[in-house]
């Protein structure tokens, strides 16, 4: 078997037999046909001018780019042309053509004027030669031998042990990436929302509290606990959150309040009648699938559809999943009314809201 033979696995006699079976001989590379530019001086000159024209036009586009950069103000209406600003369109066009024309010119040059003769190179198998392999193995075993790594297991094993141990600090040092999700941490975070007994349900845009009469039958309102919506005047005794704390609480505390005919609602142990006020039920707005806020309300069927993966929940039946990938009903917030007649929470949700996690059922 010769070294640069690419068909080493087939024995020679078999290969001869296979060659005999080859139906047609390889006719060899087809002869080179000259292009017009190879034989016709005029065509050659024309191609040369063509290529230079591309490069010249590219220069013009580059200059146009600079002109557009200074001449067009981006602060003007950003929607001048096809939804995009004039500056953006002009910069894109000029830069695009400046680049494109160079590319076209170079390729035209290569196709028309550079030698188009195909050449042949020989391949060699990826594997090294036998001598190289042997020499490498010899060098390797000599090196290992001289290091004594085989003869001194004590040194070798303690080295391996010490290096392996270094993996631990590498992991441990990352522990401050976030709090460790122990039971008490989970309780304080994932399993607690901003709702307390007596927290008012407010409209998530205006921040105004909601009375039972504000809601018509069939109407759905997006709500938040009071304190999570910016209002010009803060009410005394309410904590208003900002920044990351606000975002975290919104992720868990957003709700929807919906009013239905009381006789259309199926009350159950999951959704007892005394959690509602005059046919008004308040549910978590956070999908139990992977946590999108749910928004699409179908009045006739009482179905609420999640826009992310279309899980559908029946709000007249304890937030039961009627369709889609979610596996759990929407948690319901027990509500009542306060002395001023506003909707308030009786307590926090009595199960964690949002997507499932491993320890969710542990209690």
């Amino acid at each position: 078997m010769s070294h640069d033979d690419n068909l080493p696995e087939v024995p020679a006699d078999e290969r001869a037999a296979m060659a005999a079976e080859e139906p047609l001989p390889n006719p060899g590379i087809e002869p080179h046909t000259p292009r017009p530019t190879d034989v016709d001086k005029k065509a050659e000159k024309r191609a040369e001018r063509q290529v230079a024209t591309f490069f010249g036009l590219s220069m013009i586009c580059t200059i146009l780019f600079v002109v557009a950069y200074f001449a067009l103000d981006i602060k003007d209406d950003p929607d001048t042309i096809g939804g995009l600003g004039a500056s953006n369109v002009a910069l894109g066009l000029s830069l695009g053509f400046a680049l494109l024309l160079i590319g076209i010119g170079v390729i035209q040059w290569a196709r028309k004027l550079m030698a188009d003769v195909e050449i042949v190179e020989y391949r060699h198998p990826a594997t090294s030669s036998q001598e190289d392999r042997e020499a490498t193995l010899a060098a390797l075993s000599q090196g290992l031998e001289e290091s004594g790594i085989g003869r001194r297991p004590l040194v070798r094993n303690t080295l391996l042990g010490s290096v392996a141990l270094l993996g631990i600090p590498a992991v441990v040092a990352l522990a401050d990436l976030g709090p460790v999700a122990t039971k008490s941490v989970r309780k304080r975070t994932l399993e607690t929302t901003f709702w307390r007994s007596g927290t008012r349900v407010v409209n998530d845009v205006t921040g105004l509290p909601i009375k039972a009469d504000d809601l018509e039958i069939g109407q759905l309102v997006n709500g938040e606990p009071e304190g999570l919506v910016h209002v010009p005047e803060h009410r005394e005794g309410v904590t208003y959150l900002e920044g990351a704390a606000l975002q975290i609480e919104k992720t868990k505390s957003a709700v929807i309040a919906v009013r239905m005919q009381p006789d259309e609602i199926t009350f159950s142990r999951r959704s007892p009648e005394n959690w509602s006020v005059a046919g008004i039920l308040v549910y978590s707005k956070i999908c139990t699938h992977v946590g999108c806020p749910i928004s699409l309300w179908e009045q006739q069927t009482h179905h609420l559809l999640c826009p992310c993966h279309q899980s559908t929940f029946d709000l007249a039946d304890g937030g039961r999943v009627v369709f889609g990938p979610a596996a759990r009903p929407l948690p319901q917030l027990p509500i009542t009314v306060d002395d001023e007649g506003y909707l308030v929470a009786q307590s926090d949700f009595n199960e964690p809201v949002g997507p499932s996690y491993w320890e969710r059922d542990s209690e």
């Binding site: 590319g103 004027l113 030698a115 195909e118 920044g243 992977v290």
Partner: protein, 584 residues
């Protein structure tokens, strides 16, 4: 073969003389200086005229490479202004509708890039378009490599590297998509949080470590930023480097044809033709991206508003390359197990974590699976036509059909609106279709490939159909066939015969199999499945026979010459002097 003797017939602009460094030539001096320190000439000598075969499909990988370069350039521009911070600020920039709105610094700086930095929106849109192009080109390139068998020995490692590049590219795209902190990107992160939380045992810990506590917190964007601009680009760069080095080391594969063998490579030299074409192509990719950035709006984040975890827009969609994960999530039925106080969310874990990994593993391991079934240890440098590997081609077609279905499932709400269909019905249909359609596609594609092989064989043995109908003296009609050219005939036969593995051959004289007969039997079954029905190229004897037959027909034709079927002598292949149409 050397090229010198052929350059004579080439345009004069390429002086036959190499540009020898003349004395006093400054470029020559620099080269000399460098070589005395770096010894570059030895390396360059081998590679400057390295041969690259030419074919349009070899350009796909190049598109991916060049769009990565465009990503690096535009990304650096963006990073000069982008502020990876989730601190709350009040927007005071040029975009009226959002002025005075509280938002994260990340979102505010993205608005600044779009409205207060000249060329900033162009760069943002170019960055996003080239990200699409990068991932799309990698996927199509991978399909090309797969269909032509270019992943076979010795290129399996480059196949695996390519698979990792796609994975990293998708992660990088997701990280980038999340940076502007607009409503869509925040929703994407929320879904990612849900996916992470579904990990058995570790999910909650992982989610807290990712977000520095509860979602969304204020750590995720700075963390994703460093992942996006340093960590993954670094890995991508290293892997792309390795990919290219291996490409140079193995030399490019080529299509079979006259003069092309397993032992050579025929094409244009790197300098000048290939370098010019590839370099020119970089400018074209860059230019097209700039035109797209200038003319086509992408990710107009100012229309979505800042991220608010209690808001979402209908029809919210991730970038298209996340489409299959999205589709999987959507069609999975809602199954959850509650055991001993623990929750196992199959509805999220299977589509969100398990399936993408399984699909990737199947794709990455294919070269090894195929090599095991064929037992082929030879190197392969000649590409196969997709039809000549029917099972492999059918497998890819089936995978593509899964991809397409999941992609459509990922947009089921949009499909429902456009085609006025019931969303639930689309989903039920998809749940069945992802199992049934790939099987059908597999069977049909395989049959199609095999019939294409048959027609190739017919062309080879009986020539091509000329469209000329002849009538014999007895009144029978035949269509006249002419032999294909020598070059195309050779090209049609330039492929190896498939060998079906026989488990019995592995057994020793006593009928006892040498290595685990069960495994051998599986291998034999797979081998039969893959190769048994393929059409093998004819032997020399068969071709001989066929030509002999053709000669007989030819004699027949000769006998008819002069009183032939009307008109056929005007097919341009016969002298028609003195012939007239219908003169008798």
């Amino acid at each position: 073969m050397s090229s010198e003797n052929l350059t004579s017939s080439v345009a004069d602009t390429n002086a036959g003389e190499p540009a020898a460094a003349k004395k006093g030539n400054p470029a020559g001096k620099v080269a000399n200086w460098a070589d005395e320190r770096l010894g570059l000439a030895t390396l360059a000598k081998k590679n400057l005229r390295k041969v690259f075969p030419d074919h349009w499909s070899f350009m796909l990988g190049e598109i991916a490479l060049w769009s990565f370069v465009v990503l690096l350039l535009t990304g650096v521009f963006l990073s000069l202004w982008f502020k990876p911070s989730m601190a709350e600020v009040e927007y005071m920039g040029s975009y009226d509708q959002l002025r005075g709105v509280p938002m994260s610094e990340a979102y505010a700086s993205t608005l600044d890039i779009s409205f207060d930095v000249r060329g900033g929106l162009l760069m943002r849109q170019m960055h996003h378009w080239s990200a699409m192009l990068f991932i799309a080109a990698m996927l199509v390139h991978m399909m090309r490599v797969f269909l032509t068998g270019a992943f076979r020995k010795p290129r399996e490692l480059n196949w695996v590297i390519g698979g990792l590049l796609i994975l990293l590219g998708i992660l990088e795209g997701f990280a980038g998509y999340s940076l502007p902190d607009d409503l869509l990107s925040g929703t994407g992160l929320r879904i990612a949080d849900g996916l992470v939380k579904a990990t058995p045992v570790l999910g909650t810990y992982m989610s807290f470590f990712m977000f520095g506590g509860e979602f969304p917190g204020d750590d995720i964007i700075p963390r994703l930023y460093i992942v996006h601009v340093l960590l993954i680009p670094g890995l991508l760069l290293a892997l792309i480097g390795a990919h290219m080095l291996l490409l140079v080391f193995h030399k490019h594969t080529q299509w079979p044809g006259p003069g092309r063998t397993e032992k050579n490579v025929v094409g244009y030299p790197m300098l000048p033709v290939y370098a010019a074409k590839a370099g020119g192509f970089f400018f074209i990719v860059f230019g097209v991206t700039a035109l797209m950035g200038g003319l086509l709006s992408i990710n107009p984040v100012w229309k979505y508003g800042p991220y608010d975890p209690s808001k979402v827009t209908a029809g919210s969609q991730p970038d298209w390359y996340m489409g299959i994960a999205e589709g999987l999530l959507r069609i999975m039925p809602g199954i959850e197990t509650h055991l001993w106080g623990h929750t196992l969310s199959w509805n999220v874990f299977i589509p969100g974590q398990l399936m993408p990994i399984v699909l990737l593993m199947i794709v990455l391991s294919w070269p090894f699976l195929e090599a095991w079934v064929t037992g082929d240890k030879r190197e392969h440098h000649l590409l196969q036509r997709p039809r000549n590997a029917p099972t492999r081609t059918a497998f890819l077609a089936a995978m593509m059909s899964i991809y397409g279905l999941l992609w459509a499932a990922g947009g089921n709400d949009i499909l429902a609106v456009i085609f006025h269909l019931n969303l639930n019905h689309i989903t039920y249909f998809m749940r069945v279709a992802v199992f049934v359609v790939p099987v059908l596609v597999f069977i049909l594609t395989r049959r199609w490939c095999i019939s294409l092989q048959r027609s190739d064989e017919a062309r080879l043995l009986h020539g091509y159909e000329t469209g000329i109908i002849m009538r014999s003296p007895e009144g029978g009609y035949t269509e006249r066939h002419l032999p294909v050219s020598e070059a195309s005939a050779y090209t049609l036969t330039a492929r190896q015969r498939d060998q079906v593995y026989d488990a019995g051959a592995d057994a020793d004289a006593n009928g006892v199999s040498r290595d685990g007969s069960r495994i051998a039997r599986i291998r034999a079954r797979l081998s039969r499945g893959m190769f048994e029905n393929n059409v093998q190229k004819p032997t020399a004897a068969e071709i001989e026979d066929a030509h002999h037959h053709a000669d007989e027909v030819h004699e027949l034709e000769h006998a008819m010459e002069g009183h032939s079927a009307d008109g056929h002598q005007f097919d341009g292949r016969h002298p028609v002097d003195g012939e007239e149409l219908r003169n008798h």
